[in-house]
Amino acid sequence: MEKPEILAIINTIFIDVLDNDDIVLTYDTTANDVEDWDSLNHIQLVVAIEKKFKVRFTTQEIQSWDNVGSIVNSVVAKLN
């Protein structure tokens, strides 16, 4: 799976979990750019992404993410 496709899927997960149709993610999007993307919702996003791609992230991976691009990179690394 290519990065743009993964980004698009993650985008739909954000829309669903945060219940906000207006979210448009780029690789550079950070938590500050998205309303309601707080630590509480973050966990639900992580779990939803893990489920969707059938992967499990390590605690260190999760803590190292600084933007959407790094999430996408983690998914790519797991899938390949």
Partner: protein
Amino acid sequence: MKVFSQLKKNLKNNFENLKSVKVALLGDTATQLLKQALRGTGYDAGLDLQIWEADFGQIERQVFDTASELYTYQPDIVVIFQSTHKLLGKYNKLQPDQYSNLAEDQLQLINNIYSTITAALTTKVIIYNYPEIDDSVFGNYANKAEQAFLFQLRKLNYQLMVYATQNPDIYLCDISSIQNQVGKAFMFQPSVYISTEMVISIDALPLIASRTIDIISALYSNFKKCLILDLDNTLWGGIIGDDGIENIQIGSLGIGKAFTEFQYWIKKLKNRGIILAVCSKNTEAVAKEAFEKHPDMVLKLADIAAFKINWENKVDNIRQIQSVLNIGFDSMVFLDDNPFERNMVRESIPAITVPELPEDPANYLEYLYSLNLFETVSFSQEDATRTQQYQKEALRNTTQALYTNESDYLKSLNMLSAVHGFNKFNTPRVAQLSQRSNQYNLRTIRYTEGSIEMLINQPDYFSFAFTLEDRFGDNGLISFIILKKESPEILFIDNWVMSCRVLKRGMEDFALNTIVMFAKQSGYTWLQGEYLPTAKNQLVKDHYQQLGFAPDNGYWLLNVNEYNNRLCFINNK
């Protein structure tokens, strides 16, 4: 069951017409998502849970400082969630010679928490028990080493149960058994725990919330009282009309075993007080023969309170069962292997619960276990004999048909009633009656065993519990009245509750005669009553008017000095 994100969407719904309940949630780990799951699950159960959440790790501070927000909030229900992880953390810090005291110490803490809360608040306390963590330090030997964590943990879960039996306002929420059902890997996600201090995985939140709401719903009188059963391929394998009684599958062989075990489960429910009814498309004589003659049938005719075996449609049959038993559809569960019948019943009677039984009967039990359909917050001797009560009622109805004159019929029953104040023997049943009765309930105040015990010691309250027996048998405690001294002249009827089993027997006349006599002897002039309407107590709308009370600014008044005893055929026992 809904997943967490669906529950979260519930939060945006309109909670306006739902029953509002104030809940305080105190946990030693992060509970924000649990709070959302509880409120979302509550919505589907018709509850508007107003949840105040303590900051995490603040249980002791909130409880032992009686000036804290917890006490200002005045919750109806307090939920205490102490996690196994924090318990393990405590154990880890102990000196080895202290390991064996862990369970005792924790129980002492819980006792202090419970006593402090209930001394200051009129509230029920829901306590989560401890899902198991085996730290594998002792291996299997943990089972015989008192100092092992697993040993202490299991001891604590057991001691908690014992403790709860002695403290009526404690309700244990058995999240340990949820973990047994779904497995620890589902219940707990280490990475989530490490990064957020949450010990319940997102996937398990709905299960925990649902178990908690089961208790809260039951506390507010929403629970199941009756199980309606299909026969062919539900209670036994095969079709008795086609296959013949000797060929139905039940017993110890093959799939028969699944049906036998299923029947044992149903029998246990009956013994717990669930009323059983049968609704089946069959020839009645053929189907009943199985109950009478098949050696492997666990359920017998005497276990079933009502039979509807015919070729009519099941919706009409269930409506008839409902009218015979006189309980709400929302307290009924219907089990049928046939999806067509299930859908028809579900669509015509939305309030009834119709589980989607699995196709393979081997899975019936495990599936039904997982639903926790038969939550209760009380159990008394009355429960064990409930089926007999309903069968006797049917017998009384048959006898009544023989008498054209109602007085003659009532006289023929030789009714006796024992009247007692509330005491430790009848408290459980009074609490239960107050929770179970929705129709004949004038002010629908629910009392728990704890609140009744408090009431016994209050000098301004006077309580009357009535039993009723007749020549067909003993109905047990079927009515109670609580009077409150309003002024030196006025006694207020705080609540008047009666089981609908004994309607039209003159019980209300007997009860009124009793309390009027008490009021007179104690020097009061007036009895004051009030009717608070609910969706379910239309039956007693005109209760006070019919008993001769006069309307008075929304209340009803009766001058006890001008009262003439009402005619009734019940004698004091």
